[in-house]
Symmetry: C2
Subunit: 337 residues, 2 copies
Amino acid sequence: MAPRNDARRGTTIYSVADTAGVSIATVSRVLQGSPLVSERTTRKVLDAVAELDYLPSGAARSLAVRHHDTYGLVLPELNGPYYAELLVGFETRAAELEKSVMLVLAGTKEDRDSALRTLATRVDGIAVFGSDAYVVSSGKPVVVIAGHARAGIEAIAAENVEGARLLTEHLLVDHGRTNLRFVGDIAAAADLLERYEGFTAAHRERGLTPPEPVRAEFRERDGTAVAELLLAGDLPADALVCGNDELALAVMARLTDGGVDVPEDIAIVGWDDVMTARYVRPGLTTVRQPVQELGALAADRLHDLVSGAAPSAERRVLASEVVIRSSCGCPPGHPAG
Amino acid sequence: MAPRNDARRGTTIYSVADTAGVSIATVSRVLQGSPLVSERTTRKVLDAVAELDYLPSGAARSLAVRHHDTYGLVLPELNGPYYAELLVGFETRAAELEKSVMLVLAGTKEDRDSALRTLATRVDGIAVFGSDAYVVSSGKPVVVIAGHARAGIEAIAAENVEGARLLTEHLLVDHGRTNLRFVGDIAAAADLLERYEGFTAAHRERGLTPPEPVRAEFRERDGTAVAELLLAGDLPADALVCGNDELALAVMARLTDGGVDVPEDIAIVGWDDVMTARYVRPGLTTVRQPVQELGALAADRLHDLVSGAAPSAERRVLASEVVIRSSCGCPPGHPAG
DNA sequence: TTGTATGCGTTATCAC
DNA sequence: GTGATAACGCATACAA
């Protein structure tokens, strides 16, 4: 028996069944595109749908089919192109898979937990950037991006240590720098730590003892703070491997303003290949990660997991690419310059 | 009678009711934080919840309460900081309102329609960037961002024409330029058209006939194409008002490489104040919009609409701010450089 | 080809 | 305080 449809409290499948003169089962069938409905009835139903401006209830459907056709994506923030690209890759692939995406940006610790809890309530699976205690224990399929794998949790990432090793090596051998420093907060993110590992590896391979990292957040002002140190002579170095481009750019700008020549006096390299990196002079040598592909991969893995696949034990890592410009000491003039 | 709970097909409110030895009504009450449950029962329920790792079904809840506690956001893309900031503002405000956000990036025309249709199915209201035929007719509350209002549809935007008028005036009177061109595809977006209107207004106020706009997309390569025209002498101009910063930056870079002096030979201004704008030399004069606030406002308006407020007939516009650097001809040295 | 009836997992209105 | 139980709006197995 149809629920009361007295009030104009939203058109339901019952209303269209009524005005089309068929049962709700039939309405449901034509809406699903079932082939076993007569053309005539199909038309009647479609007409009713159009007439009533019928909009199905996603909640009711999800409840009936027992899944949400929605994936969650949890990002720490959205500054700079990195996370945006990740999001694009994820959303695009999800759209291809005909899944909706719910986004949550990690705010305060407390808000975050609550937001994540309700997120888990509305999706089939979640992709998190970095490791997150709660999400991981939500029971739903999870893939962590650029974080560490755990039992039963898949992890994917872009290559970090090898790229950093190459970059460091480039500075050490190709440019003969002898006093490198890594700048970035290696405690803040797993991938930063890995970049530092590449940095140390390149040193150790040559019998050098790797210097301690110079702590700095990603913000621009942290970069200028580091530059001040350099300018004041409190931080001797002839090359800087920065945790990301924002940092590198900020340091470079302040240094240049302060009269030091990059890369003559000090070489600087970054990570991410943001737009500014190719507009600034000297062009910033950096590393380009396949960020969009990473996002797409996250959606793909989630899809497999949700479809019942067992989480793979080893994490997949996508290759990154060193982009040489001239802040490392190489001559300018490369095409991408 | 409780549905069969034989299989481990996900823990439901019935399972926790069972293991807690209470009714589902009671479970629901403690989960809602109802005050009229005894402390003892509360504890029992909470224990059961913890033991079973119970995760409620958002779909079931939405169906019961007849709303989704979710807002949809439809963006054309996510290149550059503009949309990202809009998204941040929207998500942040939505989170404060305890709403989830579903994001859809407009892909192909066809995919888009389908995606929007199902989006409407899962949310209480939708914020769209620009005008979108389908969303507007979805029946759900809609607010359009940076587009035109229609009957029953709220619109919000950042100030465009006045900013453009000011910028143009600055070039015309403060720097005595006489041959300005507006570059950008004014047919592509409502706000670009408005910027062009400001451009023409400044001309007309002085009895000048405003030149036709130079068509160009937002992509960088379109900017370099325009620069080639200039370089070849096919486009006489001593000042360019570009539709956005990416365009301005690309033009400026190609021009500089081609040996023309900015701003001596030609002044260039942009729009958006992207990060590169302050790192590049000369610093790019541009306009900063309150993008994040715009996103937050969208969420706010949506919230009011969903709460039953009548859509306001006039659109709200947030003030933008001209950022003077030196690509317009002003001397460098301002704090923001 | 179409209709009937039931389940999906909550919330909320009654009773007790 | 707590427990039945009726919606909520759809999908679908089973009948017809």
